[in-house]
């Protein structure tokens, strides 16, 4: 079942009929809403476009972990799979409002890797809002290469916020100034900025937070969490709708905690194993015909009055 990666089969809400419906829809992408932790299919990608056309919302894309420069066995052609992902986005019948890239744009922060990545991603024809992954700030100057390209209108190591049609977006950096033995790290300066940034925002205003490493404790044994995320999440408690989008773990995962819905995205470069299922979180080599089913992009739709935001994850295998 080529489509199975979009669903967590362990989710109690997923019936056989549901799965069959998804199979019918394979190739167009299925919109998923998360209600009380259970994915609920809302319809086909076209419905998101309808919402946008009616002026009641908008759709944006998330890509992550393109790792341009990676050429190991798990995917010797990371540039080609990014190309496929961007090509799909460029051909969507309704143009998304913009794109988020949740980090690890490059593999080793090299100038030509940034150049190749931005040149390719630019072919989607969308404005792109980036946050860095740990692979994007390993140049000799500790992140200058990233900030020179993407740091305009950002603070500190590259954090910022912006508003789109009534939704407040916050890009955080949790890959800089890491501490020995620790996980992802936001730091006091960024947390103070976040507090200030949120001050004028009304409780009813939908919030989308995006950062590279998960802001929830996915699997600390593999470094999949952020040490001081709890302080950021405490600042977000008063809002009715908070969506957190992360990358880093190269696989889909969702969680609902009170008012906050967490999602992690697939990579466009290579898959990583499920927590604890391998000796390490390193790149996972799968059979060639399985690879594209484990890589992908996400489309997120905000519709006014509908809560939470609807998430569509589409694997590269479904593009054909």
């Amino acid at each position: 079942m080529a489509h199975s990666h979009d669903h967590d089969d362990s989710q109690p809400g997923l019936t056989r009929r549901h799965a069959l419906e998804c199979m019918v829809w394979a190739g167009t992408g299925v919109l998923w809403g998360m209600r009380a932790g259970v994915p609920v299919s809302l319809g086909m990608l076209g419905e998101a476009a309808t919402a946008r056309a009616a002026g009641t919302g908008f759709t944006f894309m998330q890509i992550s972990d393109s790792h341009i420069g990676f050429d190991k066995a798990a995917n010797p052609h990371a540039i080609d799979t990014l190309k496929e992902a961007v090509g799909h986005i460029a051909q969507l019948p309704q143009k998304p409002a913009f794109m988020l890239h949740t980090g690890d744009i490059t593999h080793l922060s090299k100038a030509e890797q940034f150049d190749n990545a931005t040149q390719l991603i630019g072919q989607a024809g969308l404005q792109v809002h980036y946050v860095p992954g740990e692979h994007d700030i390993v140049d000799d100057a500790n992140g200058k290469a990233y900030l020179d390209r993407f740091g305009q209108n950002t603070k500190g190591t590259g954090w910022y916020s912006f508003d789109q049609e009534g939704v407040h977006f916050i890009g955080l950096v949790n890959v800089a100034n890491l501490k020995a033995g620790g996980l992802g790290y936001l730091g006091p300066e960024q947390l103070a900025w976040l507090e200030d940034d949120l001050k004028p925002i009304k409780d009813s205003n939908p919030i989308v937070v995006f950062a590279h490493i998960p802001l929830w404790s996915v699997y600390p044994e593999w470094g999949w969490g952020t040490d001081d995320a709890a302080q950021a999440l405490a600042l977000l408690k008063r809002f009715g709708s908070v969506t957190v989008l992360n990358g880093h773990i190269h696989q889909l995962m969702q969680k609902v905690e009170g008012n906050i819905t967490f999602h992690t995205a697939r990579s466009t470069a290579f898959p990583q194993p499920a927590p604890g299922t391998a000796p390490s979180p390193g790149p996972m080599k799968v059979d060639d015909d399985k690879l594209r089913g484990l890589l992908g992009i996400a489309s997120i739709t905000y519709e006014q009055g509908v809560n939470p935001l609807a998430m569509t994850n589409t694997s590269l295998a479904e593009f054909k």
Binding site: K72, A73, A74, H107, L108, S109, E134, H135, V138, D140, L178, K179, A180, G181, G182, L183, Y185, P220, E221, W222, G223, P279, S280, P281, G282, P283
Partner: protein, 100 residues
């Protein structure tokens, strides 16, 4: 092995008998704890399919990103304890104890 080491010593005169290699594999430094004598050299070799690095806890030194099979060496002269971690994956830690 002993003969190979001896041969290297004779040929180059650069391989210290107590030089130590720390292999980076499966997102761990192996061995994670190493005791050396002042003047010994430690070489880290990355055996993973993902880059790692070696960063002293307080930033006293750091390697460049080590891609697969890349290596980084340091000679430690000052006695004491050196704690380090991976700059990509901070949960990976190791320790060098330098005896006088």
């Amino acid at each position: 092995m002993r003969y190979a080491l001896l041969a290297l010593c004779l040929l180059g005169g650069v391989v210290h008998a107590d030089d130590v290699t720390v292999k980076i594999e499966n997102f761990t430094f192996n061995p994670a704890n190493v005791t050396i004598k002042s003047g010994d050299k430690v070489t880290w070799v990355n055996g993973d399919d993902i880059p790692h690095s070696v960063v002293e806890k307080n930033g006293a030194f750091k390697s460049k990103p080590l891609d697969t099979n890349d290596q980084f060496s340091m000679v430690f002269k000052d006695a004491g304890t050196v704690d380090y971690f991976c700059g990509f994956h901070a949960h990976m830690t190791g320790k060098i104890v330098v005896a006088p």
